[in-house]
């Protein structure tokens, strides 16, 4: 028995299970519609909620990967290596690294930019290189990805302060070798600077050794364990806070240490300086003494030189007189020579004449000699003849004598000898003696002999005579010959003498000329010497001048040395005073929020979270309602089956479990689908959208967030199960018999509108039916309105977000601040320069008006609230309406700036929690806060402003405003390019620091907000999906519920289109009603989201423009029509036979 029951039970279970699956198979549309709406709700809820952690996660992974610092500390006196080491040893600090950074100016094409130069760090803040490479050596740099620099560009930096650039950097020119980005800059913002126009355009990264500084400018720390924590979460913030406090304490210690070391250093330096000064003094003294001595020496040398020159002069004079005498001598020698020459010539003539006489006389003489010789020869011949005769005589004598010979033979021979000795001239004479000698011959013979002797004697005598004559003649001849020869010899001697004299004379001129040469040489030497002397004198003169100079120099040097010494002493005094003034170095310790845009990233994530908490609620509500209608419908459809089950004895739970199971399965499927797709797609899209703003995020991390998944799924389960239970509840309570009978048809009911007879009567009865139908199915009515309204609202929010954000630039610059630009003046601008600028502006056709203004950054205080704002003082009160329009945002009531108080921008007032009439304070730490009264609060979107009249300013500050800028307004016809030209012209003038244009700011803003587009697309798509699911589902239910009615209409002969219209009419009406609800809902949602999304520095518009309403409506209607289009086919498929069936 029990077995069978069990078996039966199992069978029943099997049967119910089969029934359950069959149910799903039978109505896949219903099942799927629940599944999808749950999927949508869960996807949105978990997806958008997960976007918040996913965005943090994506950011955190980038931060961890690039080793982004956790803490940054700077010190007023710089950070020493010891500081860095001390920091690194601090508890909780994992790493510490000193780094350098400084801001410089750079002249771009037509503007001056501020560049932030940072040292390349090794341990943290790792740079991502997108192009090129990291800089390796001094002179190379990596440029900001977002800058206009290209690889290979040369960047020449200028100092923005009075200090030379070489105080900070080793070189001022860099070659761009790479492009990249730093985790310190998440987005487009580059922060502000104290140089140039104050806003940093781009950063450069250079190797550390490019910086030429003694101390680091900052130290970066990484906190132990912080990397494992997720940035922007409390866990991270707490950990950092903990270490930050410790670092701050350490910083105080380090400050004291630093002060001491600075004092020591300064003291040492002072002592050194003092010593140096002393040394300097001594040295100066020594040097001066040396100089004095040198001067004395120089004077002495000069005197010597002068003496030498005197000597030289004397010597030259001597030399000159010597030369004169020598010249005289030479001259006389020359005269002598000339005389000699004349004598020689005389001699020569004499000789010539002598010679000619001689030559002339010679032939005579020779002829005479020859004649003489002839005579002599005749004589000789005569002699010879006489001799012969004499001989003969002698012979005769001899003969005689022969006869006498006895004694005379001898005589004869002697006579012969004689004869031979005598020349023929002598012959006559010789003859004669010979003749004369023969005389001893005996008497006849003796007489003959005597006669012969006589004759011989005679002859001998005659010969003798002759001989003598001859001899004398010969002698005479010889003598004359000799004389002739002598004369010739004499002549020759004379000639020789002459030639000797001549030769002697001939050598004289050479001598003379050499002498002259010597003299000349002497002169030239003298001249030379004289020149030397003059030189010497000149030298002396110049030396004297030099000496004078030296003396002066010495005097000057002395004065200088004294001045320097005095200076040095003063400096030392100053240094001493400075040492006395050395304060405690001030440390500033920051966490990551000091990084530009870092906090913004976190805030964006938080805002996402805020949106995630609101948006999905809408989807959830819809999902719950859809489930409710679907399940209610299902339960109603299955009345009979429920009744049967009940009648069969099933318990409530068993019956309900089918429907609950059905809903559960659909919801579970939807949840899984929703989580799986939603948590991947939505965060990705959203973080990707933010990626436009944070473009350096290397990757988007979208892990499944099971917490949100569970939360969403749980909520979905609860909603559908609750709805199902609610749907089952009523039916299950009823008696089976009641359930078995068809339900009493829903009463047609008069609607309120019917009481308004005028309208009702004029309504086509199909409309009447429509309206009654709408009222009849209230659930559907509200759900559809809610669905359509939600869709409309979402789209309105999407478009409205765009309006609010995009419009603020337009609103701000077209309706509030409508000046076209401002010229910022240099700090030390003179009145004349300003006048010149204004003249230029007067001359510009493109500029219609201008006005002085004073723009300053101030901090406003109201109670505990503080807010940085721009204080703006207008020069000419009556012109203010031409530049700025103060009005209330809602009422558009115009305000005027009065001297009684200030007008404050709306958001500023809101953040300060101040209202018109309140008195707030302007922070002034030196002189105490100034109180100002807020007269009005004006519409304003960008930035925080507090506006003064000059008089109001004066009454608050006690001094006249110093106008630091000129606001200008362009002529209506002026184009942007023309304005910029004017700006460039203005900038060329002295005194103008920079020019900013409203249209630039507008553009910048537009660029920034473009990232919203994707968010808007997401909103529109989700709105569409919502609309689709809701309308599809409701229509399906509607058609299912009214199948009979529609079939009847068909049977009655309604064309398909007419049947559709019957249904459409309701849909269209509901769509419009929903749209109206959507407008209201959207307005609120929009406001809520704007306030959530809004950043502190700006107020987004609260407006949604008409086109947005139109777009939203058109899209909503389009979605609705699309659904209706799908429905048409469903309607067409309705079988008319349905109308014949009984009501189930």
């Amino acid at each position: 028995m029990e077995k069978t029951v069990k078996k039966a039970g199992r069978k029943v279970k099997k049967a119910t299970r089969k029934d359950f699956y069959m149910e799903i198979r039978k109505s896949p549309g219903r099942f799927l519609s629940i599944l999808f709406i749950v999927a949508l709700g869960v996807a949105f809820f978990s997806g958008i909620r997960a976007s918040e952690p996913d965005m943090r996660l994506s950011g955190d992974s980038y931060f961890d990967e690039s080793g982004l610092m956790d803490i940054k500390a700077v010190c007023t006196y710089g950070v020493t290596k010891e500081d860095v080491r001390a920091m690194e040893r601090a508890d909780g600090v994992a790493l510490a690294e000193g780094a350098y950074s400084a801001d410089f100016l750079y002249s771009a094409k037509d503007e001056q930019q501020v560049l932030h130069v940072m040292s390349l760090q090794e341990k943290m803040n790792r740079v991502t290189v997108s192009k090129g490479r990291l800089p390796k050596k001094s002179g190379e740099c990596l440029a900001d990805d977002n800058s206009e620099f290209k690889i290979g560009d040369r960047v020449e930096l200028r100092s923005g302060t009075d200090d030379d650039i070489s105080d900070t950097l080793k070189t001022d020119t860099f070659e761009v070798v790479g492009l990249g980005n730093s985790p310190c800059y998440l987005s487009y913002g580059r922060g502000s600077s104290t140089v140039g126009d104050g806003s940093i355009q781009a950063f450069l990264i250079v190797p550390e050794d490019t910086f030429d500084m003694d101390v680091f400018t900052e130290v970066y720390l990484k906190v132990e364990g912080a990397e494992d924590l997720l940035a922007f979460t409390d866990a991270y913030d707490d950990r950092i806070e903990e270490v930050l406090t410790r670092v701050e304490d350490l910083a105080d210690e380090r400050a004291a240490v630093r002060k001491d070391s600075l004092m020591d250093e300064a003291g040492e330096k002072l002592a050194e300086a003092k010593e140096e000064l002393e040394e300097g003094k001594e040295e100066a003294r020594k040097e001066l003494a040396d100089a004095e001595e040198k001067i004395a020496d120089a004077e002495r040398q000069l005197a010597d030189a002068r003496v030498q020159i005197e000597d030289g002069r004397k010597q030259i004079a001597d030399a000159r007189s010597t030369l004169y005498s020598k010249q005289k001598e030479l001259d006389s020698a020359r005269a002598e020579y000339r005389l000699g020459l004349a004598q020689l010539n005389e001699g020569k003539t004499a000789y010539e004449s002598g010679l000619s006489q001689f030559e002339a006389a010679r032939p005579d003489a020779e002829a005479q000699i020859a004649a003489g010789r002839q005579q002599l020869d005749g004589l000789q011949a005569q002699i010879a003849a006489d001799e012969q005769t004499y001989q003969a005589v002698l012979g005769q004598i001899a003969a005689i004598k022969a006869q006498i010979e006895a004694i005379q033979g001898q005589a004869q021979r002697t006579a012969e000898d004689l004869e031979e000795d005598n020349p023929p001239g002598d012959t006559e004479e010789g003859d004669r003696p010979g003749d004369s000698e023969d005389g001893d011959i005996p008497a006849e013979l003796l007489s003959q002999l005597a006669e012969l002797e006589q004759t011989a004697q005679m002859l001998a005598m005659k010969i003798e005579g002759q001989r003598q004559a001859y001899a004398s003649g010969t002698a005479e001849l010889d003598a004359s010959q000799k004389q002739l020869a002598a004369t010739a010899a004499q002549l020759a001697a004379t000639k020789a003498q002459l030639s000797a004299a001549e030769s002697e004379l001939a050598s004289v001129p050479a001598k003379l000329s050499s002498g002259q040469k010597q003299i000349n040489a002497g002169w030239s030497e003298i001249k030379e010497q004289e020149a030397k002397l003059t030189d010497g004198e000149a030298e002396i003169v110049s030396n004297e001048a030099k000496l004078a100079d030296a003396k002066q120099e010495y005097e000057e040097g002395k004065a200088e040395a004294e001045a320097e010494i005095a200076d040095g002493e003063e400096k030392i005094a100053q240094a001493e005073a400075d040492i006395a003034d050395i304060g405690l170095p001030k440390w500033y310790v920051y966490d990551r929020s000091t990084l530009i845009e870092y906090s913004g990233f976190g805030e964006n994530a938080e805002r996402l979270g805020a949106i995630g908490r609101v948006f999905p609620v809408l989807f959830f509500l819809v999902a719950a309602l859809i489930s409710l209608t679907s399940m209610t419908r299902m339960v109603e459809e299955q009345r009979t089956s429920i009744g049967t089950m009940k009648a069969l004895g099933y318990g409530k739970g068993a019956i309900a479990s089918k429907y609950i199971g059905y809903a559960l399965l659909a919801t579970a499927g939807g949840s899984i689908l929703g989580v799986l797709t939603g948590e991947k797609i939505l965060p990705y899209i959203i973080v990707y959208a933010y990626g436009i703003l944070y473009q350096h995020l290397p990757r988007i991390l979208v892990p499944y967030d099971w917490g949100y998944a569970a939360m969403a799924s749980g909520a979905a389960m609860f909603c559908t199960i609750f709805a199902t239970v609610m749907a089952c509840y009523r039916e299950l309570d009823a008696q089976p018999a009641v359930l078995m009978r068809p339900p009493a048809p829903k009463n047609g009911r008069r609607v309120f509108l019917e009481r308004v007879g005028i309208i009702w009567r004029h309504l086509n009865f199909t409309w009447k039916s429509t309206i009654r139908n709408l009222m009849r199915y209230k659930k559907r009515f509200f759900m559809t309105i809610f669905g359509i309204g939600g869709c409309m609202a979402l789209m309105l929010v999407g478009f409205g977000l765009k309006d609010s954000c995009y419009e603020i630039a337009k609103l701000q610059f077209a309706e509030i601040q409508f000046y076209d630009g401002s010229i910022y003046l240099e700090e030390d601008v003179t009145g004349e320069q300003v006048e010149a600028l204004k003249d230029e502006l007067n001359g510009e056709e493109q500029v219609s008006r201008y006005m002085d203004a004073d723009m300053q950054n101030i901090t406003l205080v109201n109670g505990k609230k503080e807010r940085a704002a721009y204080a703006c003082v207008f020069g000419t009160v009556k012109d203010i309406p031409e530049f700025v329009d103060f009005h209330d945002r809602k009422t558009k009531e115009r305000y005027e700036l009065s001297d009684d108080g200030v007008i404050v921008s709306e958001k500023t007032a809101k953040l300060l929690e101040a209202e018109a009439g309140d008195t707030i304070e302007i922070k002034d730490e030196e002189n105490g806060n100034k109180k100002v009264k807020i007269t009005q609060i004006c519409e304003n979107y960008m930035g925080h402003y507090i506006y003064f009249t000059p008089r109001c300013y004066e009454s608050v500050y006690g001094e006249k405003p110093e106008y630091n800028s000129i606001l200008f307004k362009a002529a209506d016809s002026a184009k942007n390019a023309q304005m910029e030209q004017v700006g460039r012209d203005i900038l060329k003038k002295d005194g103008a620091l920079s020019v900013s244009y409203t249209h630039d700011i507008e553009k910048q803003l537009d660029d920034m907000l473009r990232s919203l587009n994707l968010v808007i697309v997401v909103l529109i798509i989700s709105a569409g999906m919502l609309a689709f699911v809701v309308l599809y589902n409701l229509n399906t239910v509607n058609i299912a519920e009214r199948k009979r009615e529609l079939a009847t209409l068909k049977v009655l002969g309604f064309y398909n289109m007419e049947v559709a219209e019957y249904v459409y009419r309701e849909n269209i009406l509901l769509t419009f009603l929903g749209a109206v609800v959507g407008v209201v809902l959207g307005k609120f949602l929009h406001l809520f989201i704007i306030e959530t999304v809004e950043v502190d520095s700006a107020m987004f518009g609260r407006n949604i423009n008409l086109p947005s309403f139109v777009y939203s409506l058109v899209l909503t209607v389009a979605f609705s029509l699309m659904i209706n289009g799908v429905m048409y086919f469903k309607l067409k498929k309705i079988d008319m036979v349905e109308s014949l069936k009984s009501i189930e």
Binding site: K746, N747, F765, K1050, V1051, G1053, S1139
Partner: protein, 234 residues
């Protein structure tokens, strides 16, 4: 005799998965103008198929159906719709009133699509609902609802009044009253009324009785002297 409504060898096949069902297997009959015809037969005999085909809600697989000389078998869906709206007045077993329209409005609903409608109030008064014009179906009894349904059908001024078990959901007396209304309509207005029922007891009140069995006409009776409804008992 030229039938006002003629069916010649009408066959209708339905496909139910693998099985082909012959719902009508060659039905032949004709009905003259102004006749009160009753199609009678047990459940599943093919009455509804006849009704569907005659009512233009379905087309015959084979055969010819002519109504007032028009061959409706060749009609397109659109022409069939036009046929339904202009030529057929349909009275449903479950009245099929639009619940949130009043009696008058339910009639007007049909009139709105009609070429030559009658006055709704008049028709309703004729069917005896002159006092309940502004009542919603839920406020009316079954008989009253069926009267509205008849009024709706009649107001269209159709060629044929096609009634599908008009008394099926009504109690005996009310059913009788409705039948009387139908009979009167036929007699007084000369309306061709085709009544489909499983209740053969009604047959004596008809001019022509067509009996259907297994998808075929088993018998056609011409009743020369139809009896008034009041005299019929069942």
């Amino acid at each position: 005799m030229d039938g006002f409504v003629t069916l010649e060898d009408v066959k209708k096949r339905y496909r139910m998965g693998e099985v082909e069902i012959m719902a009508a297997d060659g039905i032949d009959f004709e009905i003259s103008r102004g006749e009160f015809a009753v199609v009678v037969g047990p459940s599943g005999a093919g009455k509804t198929t006849v009704l569907n085909i005659l009512g233009g809600m379905d087309t015959a697989s084979e055969g010819r159906v002519t109504v007032d000389g028009q061959d409706i078998t060749s009609y397109s869906q659109k022409r069939l719709t036009a046929y339904r709206r202009d030529d057929i007045g349909f009275v449903f077993q479950f009245y099929n009133l639009i619940p949130n329209l009043t009696a008058l409005e339910n009639v007007e609903l049909a009139l709105q699509i009609c070429k030559d409608p009658m006055d709704a109030r008049e028709v309703l008064t004729e069917v005896g609902l002159g006092e309940r014009l502004d009542n919603f179906p839920a406020q009316l009894s079954g008989g009253e609802q069926q009267r509205v349904s008849i009024a709706r059908a009649l107001a269209k001024n159709p060629k044929i009044l096609l009634c599908d078990e008009p008394t099926g959901a009504l109690d005996y007396n009310t059913g009788k009253a409705i039948l009387k209304l139908l009979q009167d309509t036929c007699r007084i207005k000369g309306m061709t009324v085709i009544l489909i029922t499983h209740n053969s007891a009604i047959a004596p009140m008809a001019d022509r009785v067509i009996k259907i069995k297994n998808g075929r006409v088993s018998d056609i009776l011409r009743n020369r002297h139809p009896v008034p409804v009041e005299t019929i008992e069942w």
